[in-house]
Amino acid sequence: MATLLGKRKRQVKDSTPTERINDGESSSSSEIDAQEVFRRHFEAQFKPLPVVQKIVEAEESNDEDSETESEWSGISEVEEKSIEVIEHTDAESRMAAMSKEELKIFMSSKPPKSTPSVSVIRDKSGATVDDEDGSESANLKKDLALQRLLAESHLLESASNPTTMGKNRHKATDLRLQALGSKGSIFKQEKMPIAHRKGIISKQNEKESTRRREAKENGIILERAKMKEKRSSEGRKDRGVGNPNVGKFSGGTLKLSKKDINDIEGPRRDSGGGRGGRGGGRGRVKRGR
């Protein structure tokens, strides 16, 4: 309704109907011109517009030449010439947005630090990358990273996979686990055919012995050979409380194998009075008497 009112006012104020129609014609022609310019520009940049649409538009503009509609274009024409609208859509109109961390710190109930940390740089994945940050925690983080680099950089030397991803990642995890005190490597295969395992062990031994032999021949001093742990001693420790320390107790009798007896008696010596090899500390079974 408001537009209608405006129209009437204009009719009264403005001019005779003929002038008005002239106005309307000129405006529509200029409008077409403008559209033509736009069309050409568009076609120059993109593909040509379909012709059908243009005809329809032209017909519509012809229809608009009727009295009632022409007033409209007359008004719009005047407006177009008199009012210049410039819109600024630059950084100013962008909403203020703090980073999430900053917003959280700023809006928390604690007073914000008067000297907040340097602005955070982000990498592609969105994780923060801290640069020159002299705080204690940052230093600790860098320290840890350096230690890991030193401990794990040899993984990167392999030609097949020079990255930290894939197999190397698992290897690095294994190293870290072992550093933390896990019993064995996660890559150690637990079950395999005995022949297979024997083969592996013998191969290892062979390698080691050739290395040592060659070193000796070349006069290179190697580290001391690692003593082999005794499996048997481990087995003995596992006896329950109150059970005998030697032999096998079954059916009310303690059965001693030859080995047990040998252990108790110890190696034969000519000088008497020496104590047996086994049972030195325990002294359950006394020899000879």
């Binding site: 950084a91 203020a96 947005a97 703090m98 700023f106 604690k110 007073p111 008067s114």
Partner: protein
């Protein structure tokens, strides 16, 4: 109760009311304040917020006593020890503000925070009731956001750790109809008690503003007001500083009882409005300028106008110069005067020193036994700032004398 020959320090009028009571509590000197609004025919005597402040003082001190005359125009106050909430049933002291309160919550928080470092136990106070206005007010109080972002960081330079300070806004509220009452809930947790605050040396150049932060809050009105305020403020400030970030905070209006006798459980919404709090941080450590604007309770302002006003106010504050602004200098000067017996220096803008508040504070400090301030012009540059030297009287924390 009191011995007859107590020497009262005598003051008149309600001006600098909280400052005087705080100084009295810290120095242990009893005060006698007379002629409180005695010339007002309609509202003589102490105002509701002043009574609330007395109640608050009573609840965080031990052994203080007040005597208010029949008309309320005369008050005698004998201070006790600042205990905080020691051995209370709950860990917060509740301070209920009446509906007739016209002052923002920062009017209570500013003096309370000056007292809190000298307390024996942590000072945890929860302001609630129908008179808590968290926004800035027409009476010149700052908003709770400015309090947190511009005033509390000042304490850090006195060796009072900011990590143990918290100002929780549990419910926001602007001033209610007629500028009276709100409905907010604010909790101050001040656990950073010190034996003796260090003095301060801020006599260097205040540096240049490097970043502007702020909070736009809308309570019970459309959240788009926030965006409009921020947009307008940035329109002014963007040309001057690149690093501007203003957070937007929208909340529902608080529910308070409708005060309808026939329907006692009836509730109504109150404290509707919006406002903008801006702070400008300088490249020098600890220099923070702030501005605070809120829509008046009767409304009739556009968010755009308000945003522009806030930006201009911030610029004006920066123009005044100095290292501490007008709203912060009361706190800083008092802490310096109460702190260790060193001479601290503070660079203040000429317009800041020239305010009535600062001059009154200086005179009051002298009356309470502090030494007078030394003032000289700053000769480093052409700003015309004034360097104020304040010697501490080493009051410190009585509750922590044996430590």
């Amino acid at each position: 109760m009191s011995t007859p020959n107590i020497e009262f320090l005598r003051f008149t009028t309600h001006k600098a009311f909280t400052h005087r009571l705080v100084l009295s509590t810290l120095t242990g000197r009893p005060v006698h304040i007379s002629q409180i609004r005695s010339s007002s025919p309609t509202n003589p005597g102490l105002a509701p917020h002043e009574i609330s402040f007395l109640r608050l003082l009573d609840s965080i001190t031990n052994g203080s006593s007040f005597q208010i005359s029949y008309t309320g125009t005369t008050l005698t106050y004998i201070p006790g020890l600042i205990t905080g909430n020691v051995g209370g049933a709950s860990d917060v002291v509740k301070c209920v503000l009446p509906e007739t309160n016209r002052r923002g919550i920062s009017w209570f928080l500013l003096p309370l925070c000056v007292l809190a470092p000298f307390s024996k136990a942590p000072v945890n106070v929860r302001f609630e009731g129908e008179g808590v206005i968290t926004s800035a007010t027409d009476t010149g109080d700052i908003s709770v956001d400015t309090m947190r972002t511009a005033i509390l960081p000042l304490y850090e330079q006195f060796g009072i750790l900011g990590a143990k300070m918290e100002l929780r806004v549990l419910q926001r509220s602007c001033a209610g109809p007629g500028g009276k009452g709100g409905g907010g809930v604010v909790e101050l947790r001040f656990g950073a008690q010190v034996r003796l605050p260090k003095t301060l040396h801020m006599n260097r150049s205040p540096g240049r503003v490097k970043r502007i932060r702020g909070v736009a809050y809308s309570t019970g009105v459309s959240a788009s007001n926030n965006a409009r305020m921020i947009h307008a403020a940035r329109g002014v400030l963007n040309a001057l500083v690149a690093d501007i970030h203003v957070a937007a905070q929208y909340d529902q209006a608080p529910l308070v009882s409708s005060g309808d006798k026939s329907n006692p459980s009836g509730k109504k919404r109150t404290g509707v409005g919006f406002g903008l709090s801006l702070i400008a941080e300088s490249s020098a450590a600890g220099v923070i300028y702030s501005a605070d604007v809120a829509a008046p309770s009767e409304g009739g302002v556009t968010p755009e106008d308000l945003g522009k006003k806030a930006a201009w106010q911030l610029l004006e504050c920066i123009q005044q110069g100095g290292c501490i602004t007008r709203i912060g200098c009361g706190t800083v000067l008092m802490l310096m005067a109460m702190g260790s017996e060193d001479v601290g220096r503070l660079r203040l803008g000429r317009d800041v020193v020239g305010t009535e508040d600062v001059i009154t504070l200086g005179r009051d400090l002298k009356k309470f036994g502090g030494s007078s301030w030394g003032m000289r012009d700053c000769e480093d540059d052409e700003t015309g700032d004034i360097i104020v030297s304040v010697k501490g009287i080493g009051v410190g924390n009585v509750g922590r004398k044996i430590a």
